[in-house]
Assembly symmetry: D2
Homo-oligomer: 249 residues x 4
């Protein structure tokens, strides 16, 4: 074959990396330069309801496309997908998993854009990046998800204060200064005293992020599952109710 | 911090893999289930001129977005991008390079779709996968590109014969049988004898694929470069003329 | 510094690979060209009692040197060491773990040689190789050990038959032919019929290999542990009795 | 097979990592806790001539055992071995290369001990560790070697001063204080002023380390190569004379 003298470029230089067996695979997708992307498309501050629901719709499509995703959690422009321990998706080839998730999520985002922003043209292509981690036990996956949710809480409380201050006339630097070194309870107090806002009444999607998981369709005769999206604490109560998520298949 | 007890999920389980220094990085993007995607969107067989020009437009956007891509080569639903030896893109982090290229290419494909298929709605999200290889010397990168081009030649000659036979009334299985074990010259002869087609007169884009590279803008006073797309043999003649491709350090 | 212009060789090219957290690390040491080594030093066939006891003594020294080894299993010229799930030995750096185990085991082997072969000079340096695997659960570590022990059984039964046949006058090729495709019970039968040997009466160290683990020193007032070596089945009975081996520390 | 149910522990969990093709492989062996080892065996300070010559003898044995080592450089208790770019040793399997080099070097060290320390018993097993790096070009290998040699110079000049001061009656802390922040020329001056020692007259093996490489045997009719050990600057002059080192493909 004319081609055979070039065979070595594949044989010697192409390696496949497989993620370790019997580990839960967490794929985290993250928007790249989304600060600018959100300004270009005039997202509302600090949270844009449509943009978040668009992210949730993409996550739902991901769970529908990849049956081995058992749960997903998203906040702002990021979403984490947990693949079940035994998944053989692409023979656990790291590069194919990363690039497929990155490409599919981007595709879904653009396909669904019009549904959530019917009067707004996409003027810049969205761009996502992906990281991947492997966790040997459900307990550690839960800690991972708690970590994301705890960051969501801290970040959202901060940005809520920041934008309330800015909208009330403070400059951005002044707002940062006011918030420097404040504790969570200080921020709640600030919102209440200055703006008569009870932070705990803010929409749960903003405060707790979004969790997408499978649930049995109640009325169905044969066993059917669909994807639910909820804005709840992923603590002991949640896991007691959804323990099936980590059940081996 | 409330978050600190979850810190270990990051510290102990997130590793960054960096591609080896002083190596040319080749990122190959490949359509996933594009057989079905091309049927759904009624691409012409064996080659759809608009679909190929759409791929080339995406490649051009990639070269514009990533200044460290020195050359790219595409055929059918795949495209290979060569990043220069010293690139510090994402500190050579393998996962960020793979997921970014995968996401950006997908984004470009969807943004430009309407331009090349103005009367056709996208009915399925396109999905690409990415592989990556590292080559320590330009000579091996050239061999890699020659390998892709040699495969392009073999594959295109085969599918040209196949579709001519099918369009002339042979069943798909019969067509495969006729072509089994034929040599390149047999296929040329078949096309000529049976269909009065001279394979070498087929469009160069179909036979040789597409090569995207930077070239100096002639008339410009200050040094300016734009991206050219050509359908040529990437042999000694090409490299003699474009030796600068591997000299940009 | 005069040295600083060479700094990049370290910064850009030295990567550290860390074994995944919360996984049991199994380091398997294997003699290299030990067929020849055993001939040069006139080891008895099929099993040399002194050579096996030397291996066990080296394993004991390994458990004494590395407190994170929880159990080890050896047969012929190989030994597997299980490091506990949470070990921070060399920060789980793969290369340092591999090279240290390889060097230390070699060192112990040579230091102890005279004790087991007092009248035989070492005439060739012994040479060991190491592989490493990570297992997320004790259950899989047990399966790994069962696999090694099952191979020990098959291999030892075969070589026992082979050497009995050879010593009785059959040529080596003839012996191989006689044993081809025989089942375990055929081999037991052959030993009994032809040589009046009951395989199950052969020394347990030959049939079951050697298992090195920590056990509490009975008489001690304060809690003290030493290393025991036993030749037993590592099945449910063994694990019930030694369940502490996998207890988290 | 009884064994087949355990097969998965190998199939799913044993991965082989191959070092990238067309790269020079540098294996660096380093003594572990050699400070204590050298005290236990009463090595002379700051340099023990016999201990260094023992290291050089081991390096020579390594070059004899592994024909793909093209050059080696050693100082104190470390030695770096450069394997040629195309080596197929153990199919470039990282773990086998690391563990073999670590085991063989340890073996040689113990085998040759008596030759260099005839009246001293080995009272502690020596223990080495190994790191590995890949360099795509000879130029970078040379920079790596220069870096090691530059460190040798700095370290040896420092320890020479330190031990002269200590032997002259200064405490160890006082000696460190005197040397703090001194430049190389300050140290030369100190040795000359205080001890009438011209540092440049110290043995080259101490100041420049040891370089082991192959050289053609002059008188031989058929082409024969043996291993030379020299104590020279590995600068342009050296490489001009030994350019063949990087030409053996």
């Amino acid at each position: 074959m004319a081609n055979s003298k070039y065979e070595y470029v594949k044989r010697e230089f192409e390696f496949h990396r497989h993620l370790p067996a019997s580990n839960w695979i967490v794929v985290r997708i993250d928007g790249c330069h989304f600060h600018r992307f959100s300004e270009l498309h005039a997202f509302e501050k600090p949270n844009d309801d449509r943009a978040l629901r668009l992210m949730n719709a993409c996550a739902t499509s991901m769970l529908e496309k990849f049956p081995d995703i058992v749960i997903a959690y998203g906040v702002s422009d990021e979403y984490s997908f947990v693949f079940q321990e035994k998944t053989e998706l692409y023979q656990r080839d790291e590069r194919l998993i990363i690039s497929s998730c990155s490409s599919c999520f981007t595709s879904f985002y653009m396909m669904k854009w019009k549904e959530y922003f019917p009067s707004k043209e996409l003027v810049q292509p969205p761009h996502f990046q992906v990281e991947v981690s492997c966790y040997p036990e459900p307990r550690i996956v839960c800690d991972y998800l708690s970590r994301r949710q705890s960051e969501c809480h801290n970040r959202n409380q901060y940005t809520t204060c920041f934008w309330m201050l800015v909208k009330s006339g403070e400059g951005e630097n002044k707002a940062k200064e006011i918030l420097k070194d404040t504790l969570p309870k200080d921020k709640n107090e600030l919102l209440f005293q200055r703006f008569q806002m009870n932070y705990n009444n803010e929409p749960a999607m903003f405060r707790k992020g979004s969790c997408a998981y499978r649930q049995k369709v109640e009325a169905s005769e044969d066993e059917r599952w669909d994807v639910a999206v909820a804005h709840v604490d992923m603590g002991p109560h949640f896991w007691a109710k959804h323990s099936y998520v980590f059940d081996r298949r």
